[in-house]
């Protein structure tokens, strides 16, 4: 195409030499930019979608900071950090597979996509393990929800943070009242935790589905240095989901981890 004549005014040009170039585009570059732009518009709506949930989370976190901080401490910091690393690795393999497509290295492309799927599914597996622990601790806001006694007791060790002074401790009525508040307000934290991580996980599941198809297409040799738009825009989606997690991790896991505070 590089030696073809400049674009004419005729609209009904048929590019017989370029089967991947649709007739309503003048050039491959234009077609690729249009597709990429469409994905960016979609990601813009995704920012609006997640933005609403982030906003609700930030308001409640401001209102009920001590309860949110105490509840945040029950999340497993090591597992959360490890999962963030797993997701970053998957973003690298996606970026590298797009690069492999640009260079026309099919085998490398397929392997990198395979590792993307492995990392993506590992992330989901680790997340399931974390959710399972929350279930065991009675931290899922449903029937057996309990943060003031039993296995998932978050009051113990967090008395200073939660404002449970000796005066309140020695006054059964006041203590009950405070405990009821803690139950309610931590429920908000866990509801938002499950809504946000759940929505993120749904996006991951969709991403894994998309990348299964992309891997198959890559395996079939559908992507060339000239045409690999599906891989590229699927990659944009994957990186976006990674960015959502980059914000979720500090907001949910790292509210207040200071020792003795």
């Amino acid at each position: 195409m590089s030696d073809s004549p400049a674009m004419t005014d005729t609209v009904d040009v048929v590019h017989h030499d370029r089967p991947e170039l649709r007739h309503h585009f003048a050039a491959v570059d234009q077609q690729r930019n249009a597709a990429s732009l469409g994905m960016w518009w979609f990601l813009g709506t995704e920012i609006m979608f997640f933005g609403g949930m982030f906003c609700a989370y930030l308001i409640y976190r401001r209102w009920y900071f001590p309860e949110f901080a105490a509840a945040s401490r029950t999340l497993d910091l090591k597992v959360g950090t490890f999962n963030t690393v797993v997701l970053i690795c998957s973003s690298l393999t996606v970026a590298m597979s797009v690069r492999a497509a640009q260079l026309g290295k099919r085998k490398q492309q397929v392997w990198l996509l395979f590792w993307t799927l492995v990392f993506g599914l590992s992330f989901l597996g680790i997340k399931t393990y974390e959710w399972g622990n929350k279930y065991k601790e009675h931290h899922i806001p449903t029937f057996d929800y309990n943060v003031i006694s039993g296995e998932g007791n978050i009051v113990k060790g967090n008395e200073a943070l939660l404002g449970i002074t000796d005066e309140i401790k020695n006054n059964p009525v006041k203590l009950r009242q405070r405990e009821a508040e803690i139950q309610q307000h931590t429920k908000l934290f866990y509801s938002l935790y499950f809504a946000l991580t759940g929505m993120h996980a749904i996006h991951m599941i969709v991403g894994v589905g998309i990348f299964l198809v992309i891997s198959w297409m890559a395996h079939k040799g559908r992507f060339t240095p000239e045409y690999h738009t599906p891989l590229e825009i699927a990659g944009l989606y994957w990186h976006f989901v990674d960015i959502v997690w980059i914000y979720l991790f500090p907001l949910l896991y790292l509210i207040d981890r200071r020792p003795g505070a």
Binding site: S36, L58, T81, S91, G235, I243, I246, P250, Y253, I255
Partner: protein
């Protein structure tokens, strides 16, 4: 020719970005356990924003794109998000905190 304007990022840069992201992740987890007072949240969100910017610029090729609309959409989206968050938070911060559940007598008055 605009035909082959697609930028190919060197593999070494991708790996460098990956290493920076990993280091930042470990750093943010560690610094959260250090008492910085009110600045713990600021530092955590600062590191997150740095990580997100690097992903957008390099992994998502925004730094290399010739399509100016991509940057326009990105900036408009981030601006919209900041409007939502900043204006909502200033509004809620300047009011009595907590859920205000109207009492039944208030509801009767409304009817």
């Amino acid at each position: 020719m605009s035909e082959h304007s697609e930028h190919i990022v060197p593999a070494r840069l991708y790996v460098l970005i990956w290493a920076i992201l990993i280091v930042c992740t470990v750093l943010t987890a560690w610094v959260a356990t250090v008492d910085l007072g009110k600045f713990n949240t600021v530092v955590a969100l600062g590191i997150a924003t740095f990580k997100a910017s690097v992903v957008v610029l390099i992994f998502m090729h925004v730094k290399y794109t010739s399509e100016k609309m991509t940057k326009a959409i990105l900036m408009a989206s981030v601006f919209w998000l900041l409007l939502l968050l900043v204006l909502s938070l200033t509004d809620y911060s300047s009011r009595p905190q907590g859920l205000l559940i109207p009492s039944s007598s208030d509801l009767v008055r409304l009817v």
